[in-house]
Assembly symmetry: D2
Amino acid sequence: MTYRVGIIGGTGYTGSELSRLLVRHPDVELAALTSRTNAGTKVSDVHTFLRGYTDIEFTEKISDTKDLDFVMVATPRGVAMNEVPALREQGIKCIDLSGDYRLKDVALYEKWYGTAHTDADGLADAVFGLPELFRDSIKGADLVANPGCYATSAILAIAPLMKSGLVHSDVFVDGKSGTSGAGMKPSDRLHHPTCGESVIPYSVGNHRHTPEIDMAVDMFAGSKTDVMFVPHLIPIVRGIISSCYFRLKTDATQADVDAVYEAQYGKERFVDYVPEPSIRAVVGSNHAQVGSKVIGDRVVAFGVLDNLVKGASGQAIQNMNLMLGLDEAAGLDFPGFGV
Amino acid sequence: MTYRVGIIGGTGYTGSELSRLLVRHPDVELAALTSRTNAGTKVSDVHTFLRGYTDIEFTEKISDTKDLDFVMVATPRGVAMNEVPALREQGIKCIDLSGDYRLKDVALYEKWYGTAHTDADGLADAVFGLPELFRDSIKGADLVANPGCYATSAILAIAPLMKSGLVHSDVFVDGKSGTSGAGMKPSDRLHHPTCGESVIPYSVGNHRHTPEIDMAVDMFAGSKTDVMFVPHLIPIVRGIISSCYFRLKTDATQADVDAVYEAQYGKERFVDYVPEPSIRAVVGSNHAQVGSKVIGDRVVAFGVLDNLVKGASGQAIQNMNLMLGLDEAAGLDFPGFGV
Amino acid sequence: MTYRVGIIGGTGYTGSELSRLLVRHPDVELAALTSRTNAGTKVSDVHTFLRGYTDIEFTEKISDTKDLDFVMVATPRGVAMNEVPALREQGIKCIDLSGDYRLKDVALYEKWYGTAHTDADGLADAVFGLPELFRDSIKGADLVANPGCYATSAILAIAPLMKSGLVHSDVFVDGKSGTSGAGMKPSDRLHHPTCGESVIPYSVGNHRHTPEIDMAVDMFAGSKTDVMFVPHLIPIVRGIISSCYFRLKTDATQADVDAVYEAQYGKERFVDYVPEPSIRAVVGSNHAQVGSKVIGDRVVAFGVLDNLVKGASGQAIQNMNLMLGLDEAAGLDFPGFGV
Amino acid sequence: MTYRVGIIGGTGYTGSELSRLLVRHPDVELAALTSRTNAGTKVSDVHTFLRGYTDIEFTEKISDTKDLDFVMVATPRGVAMNEVPALREQGIKCIDLSGDYRLKDVALYEKWYGTAHTDADGLADAVFGLPELFRDSIKGADLVANPGCYATSAILAIAPLMKSGLVHSDVFVDGKSGTSGAGMKPSDRLHHPTCGESVIPYSVGNHRHTPEIDMAVDMFAGSKTDVMFVPHLIPIVRGIISSCYFRLKTDATQADVDAVYEAQYGKERFVDYVPEPSIRAVVGSNHAQVGSKVIGDRVVAFGVLDNLVKGASGQAIQNMNLMLGLDEAAGLDFPGFGV
């Protein structure tokens, strides 16, 4: 069977990346991309990298396309909570790549996002889509909240160690992201003369991925975590490394820490625990790398990924595969760049 | 005597760079910077790099400041032609860093800039401010049109060779510029994810520096030049290299070409003819480097500079020094980065 | 049938990229990678991006692996001419990605490469592997010389126009390449502080891709071309754009030039003629983009590709597919990045 | 009086940067640069950015030049301890920019640097050259150990807060440096294709600036600090930002923390406490910026500077000025880039 998949928000970076990945997915037909500004235009005329891979045109609304089996929402936040309820009523499974469904608690959402949430039912039903930690729940979900890019990189590094009980609950996360993570809208900070030869801390202490990291780690570890998250903009296009700093509770050794991560990720297809995690090794792919180093009574752990793939669109497809009962790696089975 | 200098357009890149240079100029007091959005704010609160160097505040209009001796216009084009006439009436010498006064011919201006020119007198009086080629005229001018960044780099490489008669008149200029040359306003092209790992040709065949290069080379060489100019955006912040391709008329040798450039620039303070021109050697400074290589019956010449200094604000100060009878190198007497 | 493919030179960038592409090729088993320094080590321990994609170890010599059907040579030049004769004697088809077999003429080789050529027979038999121009010859070849990265980008832009008779024979090629094109060996020029915020012309007038461009264009166009090629190092990792400058012979229009390229590339899978060729659209993929603009009596044409894919390893696989009678796009059927 | 200053190690990045700064110093004559490989060559032929600023030639040994008043050692570590004793015997004051004299304890030196120290007397006499913290000692010194680049950025952010007693002693320092900090020698890590689109943690837990930060903070604060330092290589040429993470001991507020830094740096010429520290604001200059943000019971502090100026050669000149009784800002009195 070939599933017909539609994307709400087809011009932005995550929508564009979903297209790039879905056109080569063996079990999927890319059936719809919406775009208010480009409706009626051939997708491959806007995204010339899709020439020869799809002949469809942008449509204005997702309802313009019939018989969809699955919908991804790849818009700025605030759109998904308006679109998803109607889709679910029609029995269409959905993944939201924006932040609308990530925080389980309406009050928490409203505190961090500053607006009311209009789909409390969806929020209650949505499953946090980090397959390596919550695979079984994802398989049974009809609505998945796809994690943020920083959040994925940090959670992968933090969750196993927090669950192990080896570390104190107060973690410092120094996030370093390429610029594509901030989306396609030009801004002062993303202007090349501003960021091209600089490293810029931003949203210090109030970035929206903070409660998401706390929530996901707590759900997985069953204990209270307290993350302080400081993101930095780095002049690369793709790639994130989150350097996570812990205090060890006990006199744990490197071998103890290695054992924790190897137990967690040893059999995973898309997360590798390696001596020297590298952005270049994962760029372009759905693979993430995690590493760690114990120094005295402290430890640093690194979570590394391509923000647009494992940090967004690739992970969404991994979630979709689980939700549809497909091979988890379908359409994602290719390595990172290396160079 | 200390000259009181004002800048119209104090927040943009060329205004900011003028400030950076003028605060260390031995004969100048930075007396005014205008900014509609920042009027009333301390300059050093917006430009923190000026902390300790100036205590003045932004003003709304240049006329808010009294007793100015000299005014630089560092705005987008279209402003200078409205501001300059009143200043000249008061006997204040002016340099325009925008394109308003560069093309001598009103018709040519209107063809390339697409709007009417409202100061035909100023246009007639304005001297093209490339000191190495037009030093004497600049000394006597009360209005100087500061050349464009690409234009300066290309003209320095082209003009001597064209005057020598060694080359045909049809030159190809492949310009490669850092992103700060495009100004401080965010745009799709200057968005880091777009340009940070790319090389982007733009304004192919219709960039406004094209007629400026033709005009300046013709004025200097006394013959008709025909430049085809293709600019490319490069992911560096500062620096331009223009690679200029000529066909030799005669069987000229490398020695012949070297002799031309050495005769032209051998005694210049700010233009060096070197075997391997380098952006890093000039970045941060008012120095330019020129180089060339003869290959068979053709020759390539390179013009290299920092687009914000010799390509804009530094050259403006060099012109100001000439207009005020100061040492031409006053306030500019420091080398480039090297590294 | 699954073909067993070996790579001589498995640690360098083109060898590494061949591995990245071959592990997902549907008709190929990556059977051998040689490396003197890494022999005996698991490939995926050195290239961690291949974890989960291959379990083989590096071997010292290609003859250490039996029953190979095909061999790629991805070493620095000078190795292939020693390895290829023995392989061909065993009936193993070969592609050389170094420069050893590109120039048909021994004297020309020795002039540009500075050493003697030890396999004149191979040189005579080798077919220049640019499929869009020489597809039929490649199909029947047992030895293919894979083109250089700059050369591919320039030839794609130049050859159709030269064949059309619309342009004069003297073309200027201003090449701009990312740093991965220079290989994995550290050097002063590739040192980040040197090149990271600069644009560096090099090998001006004596780069070895010059005679290769001339030769290939002449073979295709049936006329004498005279390329002046000036490469520039650009601070991006992957990507080349060659800006090619021509003088039109006649009063050809943009429509005439468009017609030439559309006739040539309209049905090609991997070369697209587009209004605005973009490095980001092709990075990571085997796709190239070509564009052009007529300005008065001159024209600029752009050839854009990923130097490691269509400029090296991807094109090698495209050639291999043709030589083995496979679908030309097998293992290469995925789009570029876009972002 | 004009002081004659010599530099041992004139080709490397810190030697080159010393030259760039000293040629414009009002009280100094750049009298000697040594270089084994370039001895006998004009300095400005190697460093073309010095054309017009100095006519001296490289010499082989510092003793080749007579009547020096002051010597800077800008070599890799291990050279200074052999050169400095003889210079001091002649009454020549010295600054060492390598690590030879930074750690006061021979045993500590040998533990971190892995070799014996041959000048125990010098080590005992050397003063740690961070003027904002140890100004008085520097004034009376005849040998100053110039701090490391990372160390300066971290110490400026850590020392005042540690002295205030507001924070616990265990600090995490996430250092992010441009590539010029690693010196001019090409290496795999500094190879552009490796680092140009990546962020690379290195020397995790064993970087030599670790004990230097601990020592300097302890000397200043009078208490035991315990730094965990993780440096990351960032693809920019110049600039460091050290993000320093603390746990607050008490319920200190942002106002408390602001007061600490303002008391410390309010009157300093070269260190500014600002709301948003920026690499671009300081690049090219001897200025550093410090900022902080309290989040709950933790605080992050940022130390930002140009690694080659305030992180090396500029700070050396600031120290020299103090040692010679000159204006501390002589030759350094110019702002950073801004853009």
